[in-house]
Each structure stands twice: as C-alpha cells, then as structure tokens.
Amino acid sequence: MNPNFTDSLIKWTLAVFLVVVFAFLYMPIVHILFASLSTRPNFPYPPEFNVASYIRLSTNTVYQSAFLNSLLLASCTAVLSTVLGFLATVGVLRFAGKRALIYAIFFAAPLFVAEILLGISSMALYYMLFELQGNMLTAIIANAVHCFSFCFLIMAAMLYKYDWRMNEAAIVCGASPLRSFFEVMLPITWPGIMGSLITAFVLSLNGLDVSFYLLGATPTMPSVAWGALRYGVKPELYALSSLINIVVFAMIIALLVAIRLKRKAA
C-alpha cells in the first residue's frame, strides 16, 4: 500500500474518533442546556427559549446562600493553595538541590489520595482532637490540600524553564527581593499563576467530597445540588449546571484571549 495513503487513512480515522469523543463529552452538556431552557425538560426537542427555570433559580434563597458560601470557600482555597504551591515550586526548582525529587513526590502525593479519604480523615482528626464538627476554615484547609498538588504541578510545568538569573540580576541592580518578584518574576510567570488560581477555584467550587464531611449543615453549591438530586432532578439544577458551564467557558476564552494579546504585544 502507498504509505501516503496509509498516513492519511490513519489521520482521518483518528479525526473521526476525536469527533465522536467530543460529541460524547459535549452531548450531555448541550442536552441540559436545552433542558434548562425548555418547558419540557425530559425531552426538550425541538429546543425552546424559556427562562422560567433561571428565574426560579435566582429567587431561591437556598441556592443564593449556597452560592455565596461556595464563592467564599473557592476564593480562599484558590489563594491559599496557589501561594503554597508557588512557594513549593520555587523551593523545589531552586533550593531543593538533590532532594528535589523527594520534595516533588511529597508535594504531589495528595493527588493520589482520594478526595473522600481526605475529607473523612480531616473530619476524624478535628473530631478526635477538638470535638469539632467542622466549619468553613477546616473545609478551606482540606480543600487547599487537594488543590495544592494541582497548583504545584501546574506552576512547576510553567516555571521550570524560568531563568532564575533574572531575579539575581534585579537584586544586583539594587531591587529588593520583593520588588524583583513583583517587577520581574510576576510579569513573566503570570499565566502559570493564573492557571493555578483558576484550577484551584474551579476544583474547590465543585468538590463535594471534602466539603460534605467538613462543612456540616453549611450549604454549598455541590451539596445543595446533591441534596436536590435525591428528590429527583429539577429544571433549576439544569439551569445551575448550564450557568456554571457558561461561566467556565467564558473564563477559559478570556484567558486564551489574554495570552494571545500579551504575545502580540511582546
């Protein structure tokens, strides 16, 4: 057989496969977008445009307080785990020397421990030590442990080509370490830091397992969604899910555009 023909055969087979997989990934998301906009949520075809379920969602006080709690939890977790992840990255890449591998494995370890185990074990610890039922602070910390590994890996992947001599050059020229960080390092490494912030935010916004065991009666978005699920799926849940998907989509597009603009400017 002609090798060129085989090549393009392989290429097109793979392309068809990719399209099928993308369809598998996106069909449920598009389906519930239609379902949330329809008066017949079970079989919303042909599509309609009806925002009744969104209005019900926005007037529901349970969802409102859950949204605020989730927002607080996710922002604090994102900042905490990104700061810790940044320290860990700088430490491993610059200061750890021969022990870099050991530190890296330790910092990545939470990735390989199931979230539910993290939640359960933190709950057990706080209960045994302080007879505490869990509160926002403990939930933020436990979520940050899980997100920390992701932040560390994302920033390590972005930073390992960073030239540390630039910091030293800035310091030689008389900048304080803090100033060399803000004026030299931050402008160069911000895509990695942004990526880490977004990842941690999204992970902790959506994580049910950790928050479920550490927050008790405080509602968050996933726990309210989970609670509502037990009594059957309602169109409000479809609306909530679609809204989150749209926000995530917009955030990713914004990040892409920002990177492209930056590259054009450079």
């Binding site: 209960y127 390590a156 899910s241």
Partner: protein, 287 residues
C-alpha cells in the same frame, strides 16, 4: 549567606509543614480511629482489631471491594485505550489548534462531578435523551444503561476521560518524534515503531494517567449511589455510608485505611515504570 539559608528554609518548610499538619496528620488520625470502636454513635477508646476482622470476614465488604477493583481496572484500561488515539491525533495533527483541542477537552471537566452526573443522568436515565429517543422511535428503552453497573462504567469514562487524555497529551507533546522518524529510516514498520519506540518512551505518562483514573474510581461514592442501582454498591459508597447513615465511624476508618494502603501499594508497583522526567508534569528535567 545566612539570610539566603533562612529564605530557602522558609520557602520549602512552609508547604512541607502545611502538608504534614493537614495531610499526614489526618491520615494518622484515620489509622488511630480504625483501631478503636464505635458504639451507639460514640467513639470508644479501646484498642481492637475487630474492624479489620469484620472487613476480612464479612461477605458484603469483600464483594464491594472486588467489584470496585474490577470496575477501576476496567475503567482505567478502557480510558488509556481511548485516550491514546485522541492525544496522539492532537499532538501529531493538531498543529496550531493543539491548545484549542486540549482546552475543549478540559472544559467539561471543569463543571464538577455532581453537575456532570446530573448532565449524564439527563442522557442515560429512564426519561433521558437516549431512552426518550428510543421510545419516540417506537423501540423499547435500554434497561442496561439505567441504574446498573454499566451506567456507572459509562459515568466513570465520562468523568475521567479529560484527565487521562491530558496526561497522555502532556507526555506525547514532550516526546521527540524525530526518534520515530529515525526508527522508520532504519526500516521499522509502523507497528514496530509504536511498540518499540513511541509506547515505551511514553509509558510513564500513561501510567500516571492510569493511576489518576484508577484511584478515584476505586474510591468513588457518588457515581454508584446515583447511577449504580441495587446491585451497584461500590467500596467507596459503602465507606461513605459508615460515616453517614450507619454511624460506624471506626469501621469506616478501617475501610479507609485498607483503601489507602491498597492505592499506595498499587502506586508503588506501578511507579517502578515511571520516570518523572518523561511525564511532562514537572520541571525535574534539568539535571
């Protein structure tokens, strides 16, 4: 110089201390708890091996564990088999659209497990898209995909596919395809290039991807509870119930310890094949 030393120590010690306090300590607490007992929803500080005895002898727990294990292996192997062609296509033929392709894969991953399960339920459930369409066309609904282990299997594939594809993608994108060309120039055919060059050199990334799907599947509690149906109870779900409805914390803790040890052993065995420098994950490439 002392200043630099202090700075170095702070930078590495803060994250290390954080993990020791909030990651290692809770796990130690879990181990301790697993050797105690719970009576009437209260923890009794009495050292005992009873929880582990219950786990080793009770039929139900062994069944749950084996079912979870078979499910996790099946899901991870299927995911690796599905992810390779996708990642390979994006890296080889994606060109300047690579980043768009990989972001398109990640976006569904970002909306959270619960909401993605709701979306999937909209597809698979008794009144969902698939069965709704089948009924409309006059066919019988597919019982197989409602509340069964098959439904859980599809859900796991759906949940973790982006994770595995991204891992293999990161591995392949750091792979030097000139090596494949060199093999080709030396007369190897496609199959041999794949089995002797491309696959072994990307094995590390593949194993990491495998583990990243294997561990959450083994401990999953949401998917089986929501989609698994009467015969679909998995180990993680049973463990979660010990901390919820049944209130037998100590037994649940023992289940957690077993799960943790099993994952750790699996990880240790598999990581013999892992060379972190080749996973594309970390910056350990600089020697």
């Amino acid at each position: 110089m002392q200043d630099a030393n202090l700075q170095r120590r702070l930078i590495l010690d803060i994250p290390t201390g954080f993990l020791l306090l909030f990651f290692v300590m809770p796990l130690a607490a879990l181990v301790t708890l697993s050797f105690w007992q719970t009576e009437n929803y209260k923890i009794v500080h009495e050292w005992t091996l009873m929880n582990y005895g219950t786990l080793a002898t009770e039929r139900a727990y062994i069944t749950f564990f084996l079912r979870s294990l078979v499910m996790a292996i099946g899901v991870s192997v299927t995911l690796v088999a599905l992810s390779w062609p996708i990642a390979y296509f994006i890296v080889r033929y994606g060109g300047r659209y690579r980043i768009i392709f990989s972001l398109l894969l990640v976006i569904p991953f970002l909306s959270g497990e619960v909401l993605r399960l709701i979306a999937l339920q909209g597809m698979l459930g008794p009144a969902g898209l698939v069965n709704g369409a089948l009924i409309r066309m006059g066919a019988a609904p597919l019982r197989m995909i409602m509340y069964s282990n098959a439904a859980s299997f599809i859900a796991f594939i759906y949940l973790y596919l982006p994770l595995v594809v991204t891992t293999i993608y990161l591995s392949l994108i750091n792979f030097d395809f000139r090596l494949a060309h060199a093999a080709s120039a030396c007369g190897a055919n496609r199959f041999r290039i794949f089995t002797e060059v491309v696959w072994p050199l990307n094995l590390s990334g593949t194993i990491v991807g495998f583990m990243l799907a294997f561990i959450p599947t083994l401990s999953a509690s949401l998917v089986p509870r929501f989609l698994g149906g009467p015969n679909g109870t998995l180990y993680g779900m049973s463990m979660a119930q010990q901390f919820g409805e049944s209130g037998t914390w100590a037994l649940g803790a023992a289940m957690g310890v077993v799960l943790f040890l099993f994952s750790a052993i699996a990880l240790a065995i598999l990581s013999y094949g892992v060379d972190l420098r080749r996973t594309g994950f970390t910056g350990l490439g600089r020697q």
